[in-house]
Amino acid sequence: MRPKSTPAPVLEAWEVFRQEKDGDPMRHGGSVMAPDAELATHYAREMYGRRQESVRLWVVRRSDVHDLDDGDLLQPPLDRSFKKPGGYVMRDKLAAARAQSGQAKPKARSK
């Protein structure tokens, strides 16, 4: 039986995020053009992984990304300084809390 014919493919953009090593955050690497998710994944592997520079890739259809660049929502005009944490120093409060509970200061996370 003849396989069902598929519609002519259309190229679209896919965004690629990559993780350089285990534990690292996923960072945007760039994009590829591909007709579908399977080939997009193959092309992402070639563009952002063929030199063993990634341990994980996320491939996202660009049109599936919710884009927010509304100035009223992101850059409102009034003074917002009261939303910022500047001036609120945590260090002394944390030291006091640690002294009270007897816990040592945690070491810096190893990379």
């Binding site: 396989p3 014919s5 193959h42």
Partner: protein
């Protein structure tokens, strides 16, 4: 895997040479798409894949060189065309995109079966290398399969061109499994787990579901199995001229 008696060196060299030549020839032939593949991303993908095959060939020529005391570069570049032992499937030139995909799908699926038959083999240097090659070939098989699927399911020119390519390749499709001289000794020494004719059966069983789903004609048995790795023809003479041209331009030069 256990080390048994030293494997039969002549037969082992024949096996390594056929595998190395296969990878070398398909790598060079597919690299002809660099710059002209159907889309930019595919250009990078096909070039990278071709480069992988040349890497595999280099590793296999390296083993063969150690076994026979020969310089791997000399093995790759200094033989005359009739001395190469790649399968006749790869004597079909790059052709159009459908031909390249058909050739690559037939070859990659066969190569995976051949590698699996060697992965647990008794000669550690080859078994170790094969363990690595199998992992890289997985992606090749995925990529060729993705394209075969797309061409087969796109009625009109894509499917027609794929069918035409499969018809041209049909008489030579199974030539990866051309018996190697001294093969029985390799099986007896557990270098490979079965003779080539049995591997061909495994290969047919592995691709039959794909060809069935896509309603593509299964490749027939090789038309001229005795010459499955001989008499390469004009397309290969041309490719040989290309890939040896730099080397021949200044013999003995260090590049």
């Amino acid at each position: 895997m256990t080390a048994t008696a030293a494997p039969p060196a002549t037969a082992l060299a024949e096996l390594l040479r056929s595998m190395a030549d296969d990878e070398f020839v398909i790598g060079f032939s597919d690299s002809e798409w660099t710059g002209i593949a159907p889309l930019l991303e595919e250009d990078v993908a096909m070039s990278s894949l071709a480069q992988d095959e040349l890497g595999h060939a280099a590793a296999l020529y390296g083993l063969l060189g150690e076994l026979t005391g020969t310089d791997p570069d000399a093995l790759a570049y200094d033989r005359e065309p009739p001395e190469y032992r790649h399968c006749r499937l790869l004597d079909h030139g790059r052709g159009d995109w459908a031909m390249t995909i058909a050739r690559r799908f037939l070859y990659d699926t066969a190569d995976v079966i051949r590698l699996e038959a060697l992965a647990e083999g008794s000669w550690a240097p080859l078994a170790d290398l094969v363990g690595k090659l199998v992992r890289e070939e997985r992606y090749h098989r995925m990529h060729a399969g993705a394209w075969l699927d797309r061409l087969a399911r796109s009625e009109g020119e894509p499917r027609d061109r794929l069918l035409a390519a499969l018809i041209v390749l049909a008489p030579d499709a199974a030539t990866v499994f051309t018996p190697i001289e001294g093969e029985a000794e390799l099986v007896a020494a557990h270098v490979m787990d079965a003779p080539m004719t049995e591997l061909e059966g495994r290969w047919r069983a592995s691709i039959a579901p794909v060809f069935g789903d896509l309603d593509l004609p299964m490749p027939p048995p090789a038309t001229d199995p005795e010459r499955g790795r001989l008499n390469h023809g004009a397309d290969f003479d041309w490719l040989w001229g290309e890939f040896t041209s730099i080397r021949r331009a200044d013999p003995g030069a260090t590049w």
